[in-house]
């Protein structure tokens, strides 16, 4: 199951820094394409495996994991239904489950890790250190677990069509009135990567984008050495739904840009999508780093190609609300003197009806401004809380943690 060094017979591991397979025993290095292991020949000659042969049993319902033997130490390697590569819990050597990547299950392309484990942790620490509201325990976090996982993706092309109704406020004379706009059109989505793993939420995986697909290499299992990986387990309906949702996001954004109104929102739509059949199965790299804070596991994702960090971390609530109230009080006191000096102008003396209307307008704008400030600020806080929940998502933690090694 492992690719072995031709000089000393030790297992090789892919080093993202050097973009080569490295032997930790004798220091030899090889390009993935150069290595011609027996396993490769075995995989190329392999016919589709029977389910009985893989499972060792007929009763599929009783099995949710598979047992293999480590080619280095003979220890048991346990993988779940979609894992394609893992690490031996006894000797730490990388192992690839070739039957999982044989024939139709084999990806066409792979984007090898470019960010090393140390670099990924370094990037996260750099980001975390600069966070003003991030607790000190997190800033000096000990890494609970850091795993490099190749995620399966389908890169799709699709024709997307949509007709939408947009509601917006339009100025008519001196007032704003509600108006409706219809917009219809089409677009062609090209090389859109869609997460092909059901265990990982689309919301998390889509935020790892963008990946530079120009650096894709023809799939070679040696790139998996030293990393974990999963194979595709999504249905046609999953892929279609994900593409449709992404298409809608891009369409709505541009359709609203076409309409000259304020407070715009799409109130109805009729989208449709035709997926091209030239879907490409690829594996894309991501680092999963977990840290424990107050008994909760936070999983930070790092794009293994670009180093983009994806997470929302817990915040210092006491500091946040203390500062918010203090600054609020200071601005309130300053604003009070301004209002006390200016308001009497509006309430004293005889004024014409037109000047009264102008004053009403000023008050209206002032109140609208206050509401906008509150809603924007609260909206940002809600967004952060929502993303913290995603970072602390148990499914994502289990996706990363429930692997041996």
């Amino acid at each position: 199951m492992a690719t072995l060094c031709k000089n000393c017979g030790h297992a090789l591991v892919f080093d993202p820094g050097r973009q080569k397979l490295v032997c930790s025993a004798c220091g030899s290095t090889f390009f993935a394409e150069e290595v011609e292991s027996e396993s490769k020949a075995y995989r190329q000659d392999l016919d589709a495996e029977s389910i009985n042969k893989i499972n060792g049993t007929d009763d599929k319902d009783l099995m949710d994991c598979y047992v293999y033997t480590c080619s280095e130490c003979g220890g048991e390697i346990i993988v779940n239904g979609t894992e394609a590569s893992t690490t031996c819990v006894y000797c730490g050597n990388p192992n690839v489950v070739f039957s999982r990547i044989a024939k139709q299950k084999c990806p066409e392309f792979i984007l090898p890790f470019r960010i090393t484990k140390e670099r990924a942790i370094g990037i996260v620490k750099e980001h975390v250190r600069s966070g003003f509201f991030i607790p000190r325990q997190i800033k000096n976090f000990p890494v609970e677990c850091c795993r490099g996982i190749y995620l399966p993706y389908w890169v799709v092309n699709a024709d997307f069509y949509d007709a939408v109704i947009i509601q917006g406020q339009v100025k008519q004379g001196k007032n704003y009135v509600t108006r409706y706009f219809g917009s219809a059109g089409s677009m062609k989505l090209k090389n859109l990567p869609l997460d092909a793993s059901r265990a990982l939420s689309d919301e998390s995986s889509s935020r790892l984008e963008p990946f530079d697909l120009r650096d894709l290499k023809s799939f070679d299992e040696d790139y998996l050495a030293g990393f974990y990986s999963n194979v595709s387990d999504v249905t046609y309906s999953d892929v279609r739904k994900a593409a449709l949702l992404r298409g809608e996001e891009y369409f709505n954004e541009q359709a609203m840009g076409q309409v000259d109104a304020s407070s715009k929102k799409v109130i109805a739509s009729r989208p449709s999508l035709k997926l091209d059949n030239d879907m490409v199965y690829v594996m894309l790299p991501a680092w999963f780093i977990t840290l424990n804070y107050k008994g909760k596991h936070n999983t930070i994702l790092v794009n293994g190609d670009t180093g983009k960090v994806v997470c929302a971390l817990p915040w210092k609530k006491v500091l946040f609300f203390t500062l918010l109230i203090l600054v609020g009080i200071l601005i309130t006191i300053a604003a009070f003197f301004v209002f006390r000096a200016t308001l009497p102008i509006f309430f004293t003396g005889r004024r014409s009806s037109s000047s009264r209307k102008g004053e009403g307008k000023i008050f209206g704008l002032l109140i609208a401004g206050i509401i906008a400030l509150f809603s924007t600020g609260i909206g940002k806080v809600i967004k952060v809380i929502k993303n913290i929940k995603l970072t602390q998502d148990k499914d994502m933690f289990n996706f990363m943690k429930k692997r041996q090694g």
Partner: protein, 149 residues
Amino acid sequence: MIDILSWILAAGVGFGISCWIFGNLLEKSNNMGDYKGDKGDYNAYVNFKVTRQIGKSEQSSFLYMHAEKIDTANDPQGTELVRRMTDEEREQNKKKVPTGAFVSEANGINSKKSFVDEYEKWEQETSNYGGLKGIFKPVATEDEDRAGF
């Protein structure tokens, strides 16, 4: 009266500004990488057919008139797993359907696109990004797998 109104408005402005400032600061400090690929990354530029103001009662008719009806009768079943085609299947489709297609067990080959020279065009179009080209079909049934198809 003036004092009370001044306090109310000042509190609104004061805490409103404070809320806005700290909401933004919190987002910058604790929320990282909260964006997806841009439309430019996937060439997702809309070609608008129509954009116009409509009446409230026109909404359904507008959607009905302008929504594209796509025939998905030949598409795979939603419950079928997606996988790559074998070399043989790919070769078969290359000959019969130049643009590549889904092989339906029931209907054989989807022959929506049947221009003879389109395969070469398709290959050229998909030659960017490291020569991305592929083809897929739902995973074979369990029985087929066992039989070694």
